[in-house]
């Protein structure tokens, strides 16, 4: 039987539910809570079942598989990120899109890799996103010869940075690993790598590969802002460029 069930146990025999609300939405919601707490790696269906005080097999009545459930979790987190067409030009709309994506994902940092791995392959509710990006790109002057490339770059720019910013650190022995990396970083030979050592104070724990805390503890706000501006400036140059290579 499912362990724990500390006090209340309203019903423990098979049959249709009396007043239980084991809906699909509740399962997704509990799954998201678990992921927020323990991360994607340690997340398990059996924990979800325990939280709901049901058997693991119950989950399978409401969800097809673990992967399907995770897809629904990422859809839930993505809900509402796509800005309305509203006023403002395509630059404003894209800036808004990027910032809203960041805000949504920062509420559930552990879902970042899920989205990177699943939105890339899952259409769920994101038709609004696709159409919004296409419209913005057409407004920016995209043509048949560069629309696909520009579209792919927008999607990857939106998600790529944050996937990395929120990439999980080694879970086993967290502060031991942090101390080891910090020591190793601080003991780099100044003669062999002078520029690295000189700029270490600027980068330590605030730059990829050189950090021992991830983006949910040490956000990379200014870098994300730079990322957005770099992308928008580069995109405009790309779309205004003379014809030539397109395939």
């Amino acid at each position: 039987m499912p362990p724990a069930a500390p006090a209340k146990a309203p019903r423990k025999t098979a049959g249709r539910p009396v007043n239980s609300t084991i809906t699909h939405e509740r399962i997704v919601s509990v799954a998201l809570e678990q992921i927020d707490r323990v991360g994607i790696h340690a997340f398990s269906l059996r924990d979800v079942a325990r939280s709901l005080d049901v058997y693991p097999s119950t989950i399978y009545w409401h969800a097809a598989s673990k992967d399907a459930l995770l897809a629904d979790v990422s859809s839930l987190v993505m809900a509402g990120v796509v800005p309305p067409r509203g006023e403002g030009d395509w630059r404003d709309w894209m800036r808004k899109l990027f910032n809203r994506y960041r805000k949504s994902i920062r509420k559930h940092p552990n879902v970042a890799q899920l989205i990177g791995a699943q939105l890339a392959s899952n259409a769920s509710l994101s038709i609004a996103l696709i159409e919004g990006v296409i419209d913005a790109l057409l407004e920016a002057g995209a043509t048949e010869t560069n629309l696909r490339e520009a579209y792919n770059c927008v999607i990857s720019a939106m998600m790529g940075f944050m996937t990395m910013e929120l990439a999980p650190l080694p879970t086993d022995d967290p502060e031991g690993w942090a101390a080891a990396l910090e020591a190793r970083v601080r003991s780099v030979d100044p003669l062999a790598h002078p520029t690295l050592v000189r700029h270490l104070p600027l980068l330590a724990n605030k730059a990829f590969i050189l950090r021992w805390q991830n983006g949910s503890e040490v956000p990379l706000n200014s870098s994300f802002d730079a990322h957005v501006e770099i992308f928008l400036a580069g995109l405009e140059a790309f779309l205004q460029r003379p014809v030539g290579s397109g395939a």
Copy 2:
């Protein structure tokens, strides 16, 4: 006992190895082969042990944990991606870096997410990468007020796109899922989403969210090239921009 062991079984009693070559490197190499075949999701230490015809616990003499082993696998794949300082300006060096990273990772597509999730937090052999990027940025005119931001953008641009391009599709029922997505994509209402439908032929199976095969089957070459050019143009604009916001 470990199953299979079809024909040869040179030694099956405990003790020091007679002539076995169960080195750390061989374990990492076999692990990479497994990942290439079955993907990160289905990869297991026990399979590696089976391939080497040893008990799972043997792995733990040569590696600290599964995560540590995976870190070594990604280091192996990353070996040799950092270009030498050589001739050419910082733009050439960075273009080379991006393209060599792409070439290396395309040989082992399933490792892409590993790198995205681990290089972001693991220093392994990548001091050459860090120093190379810093040097290139200084040559490009980066200063104390924007070096960190530019550095983070370079690293995320290098890995972000390919992490998405090679993101795994649902593994269970692959062609069933592909058919379902394709059908759903082709049945979008033209009245509700006119621009999407109009540009569908251009995007179908060649654009994020709208594809049913991932980057190892349908590469996004021209989009990656666009991504690199967009980033380089945007980066130059960012570095040449007047002082102002930097924190």
